[in-house]
């Protein structure tokens, strides 16, 4: 029973189309040059990763503690792993965009730094899940961690922003938000759609894998 299906195919085709459009058919931003097109990768991955995948981890966990339904635990587990993938894209494309525009690979920019710490929390979440054998205990512990992590996010944003305001760094050039022409705006919206599709496809695939693993492990443990 393959874990991926037509949805992944559609998502990949959509993504390829939007990326091709971004690279060859969307005019580059005058001030920043071609490198500015990393924007169409960086921003959608960040939005999908931070505001779609991460909340699912905390919500899935909280709902599991309430309803004790294994599917909710699998949802939290799967969205954590897929979130890690999307945030990895953000953390790789960030410096690749920073170097040509601001001259340094890592600018300790508030949002990117928060994303980095969130990435570590998700990694910790995944490692914690790997460390606990008993399925029920693993679900409970990761739910607790997921909820606490969601409480932590505002504190990290606060600390990072306070750090920036207390030590303003001279912004060399290029305002934060480049002015978007109509075509650029369209490409960006298409990118959002493609990335969201990809997220759903990956999440579904990972959920099917989790269900398969749980079934096999139950059989092997003699819990027929």
């Amino acid at each position: 029973m393959p874990i991926f299906d037509w949805l992944l195919a559609v998502a990949v085709v959509a993504l390829a189309a939007v990326m091709a459009r971004a690279i060859w058919f969307t005019p580059p931003e005058a001030l920043q040059g071609e490198a500015q097109k990393i924007f169409y990768l960086h921003v959608p991955s960040a939005v999908v990763g931070l505001y779609l995948a991460c909340p699912l981890v905390a919500i899935g966990g909280a709902m599991y503690l309430w309803l004790r339904d294994d599917r909710l635990d699998r949802l939290a587990e799967s969205s954590a792993e897929v979130a890690l993938v999307f945030l990895s894209i953000v953390l790789v494309t960030g410096p690749l965009w920073g170097k040509p525009i601001w001259g340094t690979w890592w600018t300790w920019d508030a949002r990117l730094t928060s994303t980095l710490f969130l990435w570590f929390i998700l990694l910790g979440y995944t490692v914690l899940r790997g460390a606990i054998e008993d399925r029920q205990q693993r679900a409970r512990y990761s739910a607790v961690l997921g909820i606490l992590a969601s409480l932590l996010v505002p504190f990290i944003h606060l600390s990072v922003r306070l750090f920036r305001t207390m030590h303003p760094q001279p912004i060399v050039l290029a305002p934060e938000k480049p002015k978007l022409s109509a075509e650029m705006g369209l490409t960006l919206s298409l990118a959002f759609i493609a990335f969201t599709l990809l997220f759903i496809a990956l999440l579904r695939g990972r959920l099917k894998y989790a269900a398969l693993r749980d079934r096999v492990e139950a059989l092997e443990a003699g819990d027929a």
Binding site: L65, F117, F120, I121, L123, G124, V127, L128, A131, I132, Q137, R140, Y141, A143, V144, L145, I147, L148, A149, L151, L152, F155, I156, L158, S159, L162, F163, M166
Partner: protein, 231 residues
Amino acid sequence: MSELQPPGTMAVALMIARKDLAIEYRTRSAFFSSLVFSLLGVSIFYMVWDPTAVRPIDMAPGVLWTIFAFAGMLGLHRAFGLELQTRAMDGLLLAPVPREAIFLGKALSNLVYVSAVLAVTIPAVVLFYNLEFGSGLLILGGIGILAAVGLVTVGTLFSSMTVHTRFAELLLPMLALPFFIPVVVPAAQASAKLLVGAELRTVMPWIQVLVAFDLMFGVACVLAFPFTIED
């Protein structure tokens, strides 16, 4: 023969903390190792910079709070570790006490331990980085207590979830360190300003972050702890 009158949450927490500290006093294991760790850390850190290029007073806050976080974290597993060898945890769970009391007891015993680490690290930094004594030192102690409470609430909860796993020593730092950011960063930034004579008023934003963190995670960890108990 002796009818029972189940003790209250705080009474139980004090009992458990007192028992832990009695054991700690007998074995002195966690305390001495962290004392040595702090002193070593503070002195090694002095040698990794060129003191003429970077003034010790600028290094001091960063060193203090980094060493404090790691030394504090090293001893956190000790609290629940005591209950593991002979499954004494079952004994606690069987007693007619609320689960939260067990967490508070362990958090209290960890708080005493972490405060002891602080009481060693601050003088060590003052000595080795020859900071002049001043009122700043008192406030530094206050910030230390706030940071200790933050570190202990989260650290104790994560210790209870990882102490029985195979690589507990690695897992706790990995889970807990992201949660120490809003504790160590404000503490370091505030003490950096205070050490160069800034008013308390200017560092209030950082203090507020610390206080908010302690309140938020103090409540959240106490509520979350019962869910980590096998039921």
